[in-house]
Amino acid sequence: MAEALLFYVFGSLAVLLALLVVALKNPIHSAVALIGNLFLVAGLFAMLDAHFLAAIQVLVYAGAILVLFLFVIMLLNLQDGELGAAQRTPIKWLAAVAVLGSGTVGIVLLLHQPAYGLGTIPEGFGTIEAIGRLLFGRYLLPFEAASIILLSAILGAVAIAKRELW
């Protein structure tokens, strides 16, 4: 019972904050709403016994990525006029209606599936040890590829954002 209550609180607040991210005009307000959304999704991860992922979500997403966003927003220090007028062409609205429609159909279809419970989990599921063994065992090659992605992202970000590279 407590689980259901927690799920509905976390889930509804996460969706509400996601809507705020998209709807709010000021990017800073959107970023703060996104931080709240990420914390709530981390709560959902913890409810799914993915405790390490919940910690990573808070540390990397809410801690690092969102701070980067806030830095850039404050660095740009946008005034109202610099944003320009939004151009809402009919095709965009059509696309939005299509997304909403297909999303609703998807959710209705999901709710008509036979519900299977979350079942039992093996010992030590979602701990640092389990994830570590996975990353350094079965996913060793993707893990090393991730380090190359991060390295090229660092170099790329510096090369793109630097005023005078040479």
Binding site: A14, Q57, F69, L76, I107, L110
Partner: protein
């Protein structure tokens, strides 16, 4: 009882809201945040299925998704900075040089 479908519905909604943000907003910063929302919805689905099957692989892949999200945010924000420096605008509709 909370089943995996409940989590999938939340994941669907997060992803759909992210798509709506990319479609309807023109502020590049909010576009990037909407992409983060979509990645987050995908992560939630991965972890829900990982929990439902008692198999850790989904969590390993979610770690990689978070890595890619970090790289994407860093490069994307660098691009926003460079564009703002050259044009003084962060409106995606202003940048249409590559449009045929």
């Amino acid at each position: 009882m909370i089943t995996v479908l409940h989590y999938l519905v939340v994941s669907f909604m997060l992803f759909g809201i992210g798509v709506l943000g990319v479609l309807l907003r023109r502020n590049l910063l909010i576009l990037l945040m909407s992409v983060e929302l979509m990645l987050n919805g995908g992560n939630l689905a991965l972890i829900a299925f990982s929990r439902a099957h008692g198999e850790s692989s989904g969590q390993g892949i979610a770690v990689f998704v978070i890595t890619v999200a970090a790289a994407e945010a860093a490069v994307g924000l660098a691009l926003v900075l460079a564009l703002f420096r050259h044009r003084g605008k962060v409106n995606a509709d202003e940048f249409r040089e590559l449009k045929g």
